[in-house]
């Protein structure tokens, strides 16, 4: 009977399937059962002799068997492959205590962010600054509230924020470290604070949701806007060269008052005006200002005794300007042909 024959083919195939010890054997078996000249096809060829009902029934059953076998072949194939890989892995065992090999691998390179960060930092060390760091995932309180940005402050909209929960966020700037420093350190201080910051900005040529900022914070009894100007000018010259000028112009940040944007004379045209500086001869590089007395008070220090100034410079932006990098995404992409240019 043709139905018994079908079941025999199935049983035999399943039996052989389990015995197949390699994927080659399995493929052979697969062809002999399911292939064009295979047993299953052969049985279907005999259908012509059957009645219409029998034909339909056979078609149904043969399909079920076929589907079952395809699945079983696949399962067996995966098992054999895994088995083969396991054996290969065993064969590949090495003695991890053997000494390493030193091969000539060419000259590596630091990322342009590291290079620019060090240039700024080192210029400031010469002015008596020390380094300070804080966490990348931060309390809302430190990132905003202590810095004179209470909940619902409209200026919170200036910085689109990644939140972890209603109290914790990815810091949008390195400024929360100011609050940490003011709260924990003995004054006076001169700090340079590098770190990654995060903003909800879709990446494009000039935006990255992750970027690097460097905060500067000076707290002392008698610092002034003129000192801020001088300090910023000194590291601008260290990074861009002695003939680059910087200027401050009025702006607004909730954590500083007076606040200013810092422009540098265009490094491309030297200040004459070109397309990079939109013809103005100046390029904006960062914000700064005299620390808002509320921030000092919020952090438990007396604003009548201590005056402070601060800035936050985007290291990425400076790197792009300095090296003429046209697309900030290159910094984070990891293409060796880009990274190897900064030896």
């Amino acid at each position: 009977m043709i139905f018994d024959e079908l079941m025999q083919i199935r049983a035999k195939a399943l039996e052989q399937l389990e015995k197949a010890a390699s994927s080659d054997e399995l493929s052979e078996l697969n062809t002999s059962v399911l292939g064009r000249g295979g047993m299953l096809t052969a049985i279907l060829r005999t259908m012509g002799k059957l009645s219409a009902e029998e034909r339909a029934e056979l078609g149904k059953r043969a399909n079920a068997v076929k589907q079952e076998l395809v699945e079983r072949f696949e399962a067996r194939r995966a098992m054999l492959a895994e088995e083969a890989e396991r054996k290969k892995i065993e064969r590949e065992a090495i003695d991890v205590t053997l000494p390493g090999k030193r091969i000539a691998a060419g000259t590596g390179a630091l990322n342009p962010l590291t290079l620019v960060y060090r240039e700024i930092r080192d210029a400031l060390i010469g002015l008596g600054f020390t380094t300070f760091e804080g966490p990348e995932v931060e309390y809302d309180e430190y990132n905003f509230t202590l810095l004179n940005l209470p909940p619902n402050h409209p200026a919170r909209d200036m910085q689109d924020t990644f939140y972890v929960n209603d109290r914790v966020l990815l810091r949008t700037h390195t400024s929360p470290c100011e609050a940490r420093a003011l709260k924990t350190l003995d004054l006076p201080v001169r700090l340079v604070i590098p770190g990654r910051v995060f903003r909800v900005d879709e990446p494009d040529a000039s935006h990255s949701p992750v970027f690097m900022q460097m905060e500067g914070l000076v707290v002392d009894r008698n610092v002034s806007l003129a000192d801020l100007k001088g300090t910023i000018d000194s590291f601008v010259k260290a990074v861009f060269g002695e003939n680059v000028e910087s200027r401050l112009r009025p702006s607004y940040f909730p954590f500083t008052e007076p606040s200013a944007e810092v422009d540098i004379s265009c490094s491309i045209c030297g200040g004459k005006g070109c397309s990079s500086c939109k013809g103005t001869g100046w390029m904006e590089i960062m914000g700064c200002g005299i620390t808002n007395p509320h921030e000092i008070e919020n952090c438990g220090k007396d604003p009548d005794e201590w005056r402070a100034f601060a800035w936050g410079v985007g290291v990425d932006r400076v790197a792009c300007l300095k090296y003429g990098i046209s697309d900030i995404r290159l910094i984070y992409e990891g293409d060796g042909r880009f990274l190897s240019q900064f030896k």
Partner: protein, 804 residues
């Protein structure tokens, strides 16, 4: 904020170039983002007089005109226009002229006849009957009055000014108005700004007799002023008003709506006009909405309100969403007979939350969010009434409804002249400061070292409190000019500048990695849940405890990374795919683990090698070189490590039991998951663990006085014996001499059992070491005894035999 130069000229004499003006504004804190010509995008269009019109030799529908454009020779223009005749003055686009939509006109031939340009219609020039009545004639625009041939179209139409697009900082909401920004602009031009006086319109009767306003939530609505106009005549507003609105990008609608819009632009205060007939009992109720209360707004949309939203209602229904948009049911229509003008103050944070929840930040809402103030609310209302009167748009009723809980009194603050000078490091006299403040209409007087300042109502940013001196320093600084303050460096105590130990170590680690041929990566901190799954961490592994963002870009960037491996693999993959030829990378970066409080942050050093010459041992070589440079000694490599590494090619690195990290070949499965076309080798080290074992000061070790001898041993050991086991035994052997620099230098596994005399299950390993004594040269006997002791120990502890 758009400031049309024409509008500015109504208040001041504009005596500089637009560019110079922009520069002056910039240095006062107002950045002009763009200077837009009034006829934006139109260039190369001139007035011409049509001297003659001839038929086109080859086309019925075209005509050939000779025109005078004020040049030495007349020009020939081919046109299909039918509405022009000889003697007409029309605009013509010549010589690469640009028209609306970026259309560029070149001299061309039309059906074999040269044409130097094209006559223009109003659409090509981007104008309508508002700018030049009668220009919308369906054909070429024709001037009705005389103009010299060759005059630029901008001059002919008096559209030759520009519009300044000015960026405002959030502390100056007062400058979101023509009045406010002109006050600053006048000072920038060295002139005094005289705020226009609003003519008081007496009106008839008293609107309080017919209309009422009740505020149920005075916190959210500190002031609501209203006046009523009856016998309205709704019609288009006059051209001068339509032009002003169009200049700032607003669409003229009708006289009443245009009045509220013009006042919004002039005074920065949003207003609304209700059809009074649609307000039940003529009674406005300002109250919180009921949950799910429905209001249909002017744009025809259904707005589902919630209890925290403020509603403008009458006793029966809502007639508007406070501060966001008016209701459709009380809209001004051609049939409106009486209107109630609303000019109110709403709490910014409430409007912000309402507008966000309704996903609709209107112009009005934007202004309320930035902040409006109650004195200006009344001014805006009175200005609107003045305009109603001026336009004869209706009969103004007398009186004013004013429900007010806001403090309208003038704020007075005191600032210290010397303190302001200290903050800025300036030496300005009190009188000079009074003069500077006066230039932007802030009245002040000097009493000794104190400035007594009467803060105008519009300067909500100047506060009475600890920050007053800073507020005033900000004003004085920007008015005096930051560029006039000479830069200095901090005076007083000197500071010891230094790098923290951690920063120094990071520098050294990065420099060393670069010297070893690695390129430095900065990978993003965001990873996908799939990445963690692909790396096959065991259930309970801390690296599965990632911090999840509430508002990620997408699921594939929803977690903060807990490992550097994924980023290293992606970078390796990119370089393999692009065939860059670079295969050595490293990153020093933080990973985060979730915690009920602040996530735990840990810094890692990750290194990856991939490429033809790389294997487990080249990566190990890189790390050994790093350890050597850092003086990290006694690092042991023991089998083991994470699941993403190859099970028989991975090791945990420790120093005295302190785990530094892991190294290994990437598991073939993981290699496939990351679609890497070649094997890769990864190490991840804990930055702080590494730092703990750095040798900070290397103490001098005296040079040996007596020579050492070198001995090699070839051993037969068990197949799975590790070199380290043998080294440990050799070093620990009781040989009575110093055993130094023990190294393995050869490993031989027989191809077939018994090959080269090595039995099945065994292999050969060759070691070299030095023997030495501090105080004498070793004798042959001592050396022999030492080697025997070593061999004995090897045999006893490891079953190792000397290879024959």
């Amino acid at each position: 904020m758009k400031l049309p130069l024409k509008w500015l000229k109504e208040y001041v004499e504009f005596n500089v170039t637009p560019k110079e003006f922009a520069e002056r504004m910039l240095l006062r804190g107002f950045e002009v983002a763009e200077i837009i010509p009034e006829m934006d995008g139109i260039d190369g269009v001139y007035v011409c007089r049509i001297m003659s019109i001839e038929p086109h030799p080859n086309a019925d529908k075209l005509r050939v005109c000779t025109v005078d454009v004020g040049r030495d020779e007349p020009l020939q223009i081919v046109t299909n226009a039918t509405n022009v005749k000889e003697g007409d003055l029309v605009p013509v686009a010549l010589d690469n002229a640009t028209l609306t939509g970026g259309l560029v006109i070149h001299p061309t031939k039309m059906r074999g006849v040269a044409s130097a340009g094209m006559f223009c219609g109003n659409e090509e020039l981007g104008i309508t009957d508002v700018e030049y009545p009668g220009c919308e004639n369906g054909g070429v625009m024709v001037f009705f009055e005389e103009h010299p041939a060759g005059q630029r179209i901008q001059e002919a139409l008096d559209l030759d000014d520009c519009i300044f697009d000015i960026e405002l900082t959030p502390n100056r909401p007062d400058c979101q108005s023509i009045i406010g920004i002109c006050r600053e602009a006048a000072a920038a031009l060295g002139q005094r700004f005289n705020e226009p006086e609003i003519r008081h319109i007496e009106g008839y009767g008293d609107c309080s007799d017919i209309a009422r306003v009740t505020i149920e939530n005075p916190y959210l609505c500190p002031r609501y002023t209203a006046r009523v106009v009856t016998d309205l005549k709704i019609e288009p507003s006059p051209l001068w008003m339509q032009r002003k609105l169009k200049a700032v990008g607003l669409r003229p609608i009708n006289n009443i709506v245009d009045i509220t819009n013009l006042v919004l632009v002039e005074y920065g205060h949003p207003m609304h006009a209700f059809d009074l007939a649609c307000v039940a009992d003529n009674h406005i109720v300002v109250r919180n909405a009921k949950e799910n209360e429905i209001v249909y707004t002017l744009d025809g949309k259904e707005r589902v309100m919630s209890e925290d939203m403020l509603l403008i209602a009458d006793p029966t229904k809502g007639v508007g969403v406070a501060g966001v948009m008016g209701g459709l049911n009380s809209e001004i229509t051609d049939a409106t007979e009486a209107t109630l003008f609303e000019s109110a103050v709403f709490r910014p944070e409430n409007i912000r939350s309402t507008a966000r929840k309704l996903h609709h930040v209107t112009d009005s809402a934007a202004r309320f969010i930035k902040g409006v103030e109650p004195v200006n609310a009344e001014k805006a209302l009175l200005r609107a009434i003045e305009l109603v009167d001026e336009l004869h748009a209706g009969r103004v009723m007398g009186g004013m409804i004013d429900v007010c809980s806001a403090d309208l009194s003038e704020k007075q603050v005191a600032a210290s002249v010397s303190h302001v000078n200290e903050i800025l490091d300036t030496d300005l006299s009190a009188d000079k400061m009074v003069e500077l403040l006066g230039s932007i209409n802030i009245p002040a007087e000097a009493v000794g070292d104190t400035l007594r300042i009467r803060v105008p109502h519009f300067r909500t940013d100047i506060e009475d409190g600890i920050e007053t001196d800073w507020d005033i320093a900000e004003e004085i600084g920007r008015l005096y000019g930051y560029t006039n303050i000479a830069p200095t460096l901090m005076r007083g105590d000197t500071f010891r500048g230094y790098l923290s130990a951690s920063v120094k170590d990071e520098d050294m680690i990065k420099d060393t990695m670069a010297a070893l041929g690695c390129l430095e990566l900065y990978n993003y901190n965001f990873i996908s849940p799939k990445e963690l799954a692909d790396l096959c961490f065991d259930e309970g592994d801390e690296r599965l405890n990632a911090v999840r963002l509430l508002n990620p870009f997408g699921e594939d960037q929803s977690l903060m990374r807990t490992e550097l491996a994924g980023g290293l693999l992606r970078a390796a993959c990119l370089n393999l795919n692009r065939k860059t030829g670079y295969g050595r990378f490293f990153e020093v970066g933080n990973v985060h683990f979730d915690d009920p409080e602040l996530p735990v942050e840990r810094k890692l050093l990750g290194v990856i090698h991939t490429g033809a010459n790389e294997d487990f041992f080249t990566l190990k070589g890189t790390l050994e070189a790093l350890f050597e440079k850092l003086g990290v000694e006694r690092v042991r490599f023991e089998k083991g490590g994470s699941n993403y590494l190859h099970p028989t090619q991975k090791a945990i690195m420790t120093v005295d039991g302190d785990k530094l990290g892991e190294i290994g070949t990437v598991h073939p499965k993981v290699q496939r998951a990351f679609e890497l076309s070649a094997p890769a080798y990864i190490a991840e080290l804990d930055f702080e663990a590494l730092r703990r074992h750095i040798t900070r000061v290397r103490k001098y070790k005296p040079l040996p006085k007596h020579p050492a001898v070198q001995r090699d041993l070839a051993l037969i050991v068990d197949e799975d014996m590790e070199a380290q086991q043998v080294i440990d035994v050799i070093e620990a052997a009781k040989a009575r001499v110093l055993i130094e620099n023990v190294r393995v230098f050869d490993v031989y596994r027989p191809k077939l059992p018994g090959d080269k005399g090595i039995p099945a299950g065994k292999k050969s390993m060759a070691f070299t070491f030095q023997l030495r004594a501090d105080d004498h040269t070793l004798t042959d006997e001592e050396i022999g005894q030492a080697v025997n002791a070593i061999l004995k120990s090897l045999k006893f502890r490891l079953g190792a035999e000397l290879r024959a």
